[in-house]
Amino acid sequence: MSFTRPARCMLCNFTRAASAAPRVPRRQFHPSPFRLNDQKPTDSAVPVAAETPKTNKEAVVKQRLQEITRNMKPESLRPYTEEELAQLREVYSAAQMAAIEAGEATIDPKDFAEQFAVRTDPMRLKYLDDFSHVEPGVDKHVRASESHADPNQKLKNTEDFMQDFSKYIQEMPRDMDSAHFVRWAETTRLTKGKEEAERSPHTSLAPDFFQEGDKLRVPEDEGKEGLVRDENVHRPAISLEGISPPLAQLIQSTGLSQDYIKNLFTKSLVFHSVTNQTRLGKVQRFYCLAVAGNRDGLLGLGEAKSFEAADAIEQAKYRAIRNMRPILRYEQRTIYGDVTAKVGAMDLKLMTRPPGFGLRCQSLIYEMCIAAGISDIAARVNRSRNKMNTVKAAYEALLAQRNPEDVARARGKKMVDVRKVYYSGRVF
């Protein structure tokens, strides 16, 4: 907030300044004070008629239209005269004339005057629009209906079928065969109303959408009745009372169930106190860097600081769970190729290794591999060996793996994993 501004501006930013002169002193390029846009011109006593000596036909039409629309009254509307009708008949067909006359008869002059007049009330629209088409930037999206159901759907009666049949006979090709009739009989609709309501109706056997927490059946679900629920997903019906607030927030934001979160591998890898030097003195807090994983290809990192050590650890673990991302794993045991990553002065290299090699790497990367479900890896940490940066660099390296399928698509080449070919895919 600037103290150079007057006090009334602190209460309301929208109020106008007391004087038209600029608040910030600056050089004036003109001796007279400048006028704000919304001020009425003081010399408005000039008669309007003096401004409209334009003999331009367009201007006259425009003015007349404005006059009409401004003071529209039901009396000013009159029916077509015979001459005008005769002129219209030259242009329009008989059916169109009938429509015009029907329209004239239907619309009440009072309504017409109300609708056609230009609105002057404060709630008037600031723009002219016909509202007949949807404008993507302005209007709300018109979405497809969620279900095909049509409330006006009706079965066709005998007359409708007779009409259909007579239409078919009329449009029948000369070289007609029995297949043509069969096709017509199969595709003819039995109901009136929306077509999709008949063609793909809603059935309770195949509901439209999965409910929250439902999943597709997998071989392990043999013998279960009805829809299979995903146990990893939190059900909103289960209350979160009695759970610590951070955990409840985690459950709400991730949608994971409490059991699933409990079974995740979480570990605090780096923990130390940090100090912020302020003018009031040193403010000491605890820093924690934690990893979380499901031991099956998901891994996340979380950092947190808190005045309480336990809070920092808990928060870091929950953040790690929230940040879990899928890690590429070759044969669900090692990484794809050698990957490097650099964070700060860290220079880290993770190397793919054959089955049974084990985790021959330092402790921090070991824990991360356990969390992600990697069992064969070698790692080399060069230059700096900062613990926090080691973890961050290892995470970056694990995410930097390149998927061979992507490589193949990018190059337009076919790539085959020969291990899978030689052992008919039974490598693990």
Binding site: Y336, G337, M351, R402, P404, D406, V407, R409, A410, G412
Partner: protein
């Protein structure tokens, strides 16, 4: 065979892919042309067209340029000929990854067949690291032309190791 010119080309291609350019040109030599054709064969680059100082017409880059379109090399224009390369990107990442010279003008690295076989299998040799990452390639100049290391093993020939693509 000027390896210093080749190293200039390789660092130029590294810069160009970082800048996400779609088309670039390099000096026209037989070595560059053969390497570029090998890269194109492996899908690293989309087009290789010989042209002048200005880029060739789009139909020459996109389609199959016939011999009438490409200006033949003559004594008068040989100095101005350049190779115009179309670069590829996939999911906003360059297909042609980081290129690195293996042989340098000061130290040329050759690989015989047994060494190459080990490298292709992913093992390290004294002068060459194994090809372990997916899509990693090594280009070797042999008496049968410039080839990828795996093709060299297939055709049973070793040679001068030019560059590596990660």
């Amino acid at each position: 065979m000027s390896l210093s010119n080749l190293s200039h080309v390789i660092s130029h291609l590294n810069n160009v892919t970082k800048a996400r350019l779609g088309l670039t040109s390099i000096p026209n030599t037989k070595l560059h042309l053969k390497l570029c054709l090998a890269l194109q064969n492996d899908g690293f680059i989309s087009t290789v067209v010989r042209g002048g100082p200005t880029p060739p017409a789009p139909h020459e880059l996109l389609g199959h340029p016939s011999s009438q379109d490409i200006e033949p090399v003559t004594q008068a224009n040989v100095a101005t000929r350049r190779l115009w390369l179309g670069l590829k990107y996939w999911r906003s990442e360059p297909v042609l990854g980081k290129m690195k010279m293996i042989s340098t003008p000061k130290r040329r690295v050759t690989a015989k067949l047994p060494d190459l076989r080990r490298v292709v299998q992913g093992h390290n040799t004294p002068y060459l690291e194994g090809l372990r990452s997916p899509g990693e390639s090594l280009y070797i100049s042999t008496d049968k032309g410039i080839m990828e290391a795996r093709e060299c093993v297939e055709k049973k020939s070793g040679g001068l190791v030019l560059c590596r693509i990660k």
